[in-house]
């Protein structure tokens, strides 16, 4: 079969390179696609709205209901509120190697959260509920850092995540 690139590209070496470039793009996107689907790794992409100015009137994000809850299947749900300048509750304790789903709402502006050295991260956008699921293989003290500029106090917005050995349980403190 004649090379379809021939009409626009006279040099055989260059045609070869164009095919390699296209193959690179397709293989890379294909690999990422394959792993995303096969291992079910997707970026946090929850589409769920909430009125950020009335979080206290919702059941889920009312102050008394924040923190760690154990679900029927043994996984955990952590409900957090992000508000200038902290994550509430400010200290979270979870067991290692356990599926944890964070559900986070902003009470004011745009925030982000990242636990360095893990893939626990999501943007927190007023008007929407963020949801991110992960598990922490290593025990220790971690930081939840706000990683999106949210105002002049942004630097100070961080809180504590403690990952304890699985046998130790791990309750919200």
């Amino acid at each position: 079969m004649a090379d379809p690139l021939k009409s626009i590209c006279e040099d055989p070496l260059e045609r070869k390179w164009v095919w390699i470039s296209l193959a690179l793009a397709v293989v890379m996107a294909g690999m990422l696609g394959y792993y995303a689907v096969a291992s079910n790794i997707h970026p946090p992409s929850n589409v769920e709205t909430i009125d950020s100015s009335r979080l206290h009137l919702t059941e889920e994000f009312a102050e008394d209901n924040l923190g760690v809850k154990t679900n029927d299947d043994g996984s955990l749900t952590v409900t957090l509120v992000a508000a200038r300048y902290g994550f509430y509750p400010p200290r979270i304790e979870v067991p290692a190697d356990t599926r944890v789903t964070f559900r986070i709402a902003s009470a004011d502006v745009l925030h982000g959260v990242h636990v360095p050295f893990t893939n626990m991260t999501t943007m927190i956008v007023p008007g929407y509920i963020s949801e991110v699921t992960t598990l922490f293989p290593q025990t220790g003290e971690f930081s939840l850092l706000c990683n999106e500029y949210c105002g002049l106090g942004h630097d100070s917005m961080w809180s504590r995540l403690v990952v304890v050995a699985k046998s130790a349980g791990g309750e919200a403190s």
Binding site: S7, I8, C9, E10, D11, E14, W17, V18, S21, L22, L24, A25, V26, M28, A29, L32, G33, Y35, A36, I41, H42, P43, P44, S45, N46, V47, T49, I50, D51, S52, S53, D108, V109, L110, G112, H114, P116, N119, T121, T122, M123, I124, V125, P126, G127, Y128, I129, S130, E131, L145, N147, Y149, C150, G151, L152, G153, H154, D155, S156, W158
Partner: protein, 540 residues
Amino acid sequence: MSQSRAAGLSLASMWVGFIAFAAAALLGLYQVIERIDLIPGLKSPALYFGSVSTHGVLMGFVLTTFLVMGYGYYTATTSLRQELWNKPLAWFGFWLCVIGVLLAAGPLLTGNASVLYTFYPPLKAHPAFYIGATLLVVGSWVWCLEMVMMMTTWKKAHPGETVPLAMYGTTANAILWFITSLGVASEVLFQLIPWSLGLIETVDVGLARTLFSWTLHAIVYFWLFPAYIALYTLLPRAAGGRLFSDHMGRVAFIMLLVFSVPIGFHHLYMDPFQAAGWKFLHMTGTFMVAVPTLITGFTIIASLEIAGRLRGGKGWFGWIGTLPWGNPMVTAAVLAMLMLTFGGFGGMINASYAMNAMIHNTQWVTGHFHLIFAGTTVIMYFAIAYYLWPKMTGRQLYSTGLALKQLWLWFIGMLILTLPWHQLGLAGQPRRISSTPYDESFVQAWLPAESAMIAGGGILFISALMLVYNLFRTHGNGQAETNPEVEYAEPVHAIVRMPRLMNSFGFWCLLVLVYMIASYGYPIAQFFLLDTHGTVPWSI
């Protein structure tokens, strides 16, 4: 010929860009020092975030827009050998941009627009900031119109002829910029301006971020385009050779136009409010947009090899040494390609749907875009300036030696600044922080990389001053430039037949429209279908 050039307009435009650049470089130096609490007296989040916002606006919006416009006007008039389509209108566009910048400068410099150049609602800036930014964009649309009209009228006057590659690329960029700026224009006109004036109470932050993402990726190609145009059409001749392929340059420009706009969701990977399938779709396009850059890398290196061999270079690598390293265009191009390679590796991680989670919004990202934009793109802006200043002023460049030193310093400074930033990102440091009040273990681990960052910032600031000084002194240089012509590179194979699709844009615009509707149609429409809640303005 000289009277048909737009030298005055181009010079004025590029000077505004480089003055903004020098001011922004000074702010950059302040920021690297303030950021790690080196001098306690300097510590001020208000000053820092005002500075970061100004630095971003000056570098990302002012330097780029004015340089693109100035270079575009000069390219159009010299490559087509044709008068500006409408000179008074072009000057009107220029002044509109200047007024926009001055209007935005007020709130920026007084700390009333410290919302970063990405706007970030629901943080609210003074309305003058949004209105100024809008005027800058509207003024640049005048340039878009001029470029399209220049190409159209030239084609009418030269039926059957091929539009010169430099102009084909410039027009591609004009169309690209018009399409991509519609996203941020809608955000500002329909959301931020009425909201900051109190005409509407709330904005939907999800919609605002989606609209901004429409602009946010392709804008970097708007910035990058002049660099690519110089690489394809000025560099091969400056190096003493020929362009390896005119056709592949067109293919690259067309691919950038088609693929760079409908892929903005890789900036929203970590956001809620857009479902994973849409992000996946945009991810695939993000990898496609790497293809024109890979093609460009091949064509440019091949063109340099031709030049090196013509100058007597032998063997696999011998041609590198025989390149005319005393020519700023050649040196800048090689350094630009090196930085593009480093930056490209990092970019692959950012573009990766899942891996991005490790580095999202960390200092890694700042490192990445400084390498590609402040590195690759801006060093080519310098090369363009060194090449065009003598043509535009009729005076020889004040000092070629100073120019070469400046380019090398910029390259070294940029590596010292950005490679440690990648490391800081992997070590967990967020971007956009003005101090580090975190765990001691973090702060200690970050210190060596942060010290390097200060050294890099210092070198870059010195380099920036050298550029401005050299250009300024060129105006007063007693020695007249002997070669006022812009010498565009000839391709190895003369153009015999140009397919119609590679000499026009109608079909490609239609393709972008279809691709945009497919990738942004529902994601934008959903905000009008969902039961959403807007957000009131917040002060910083």
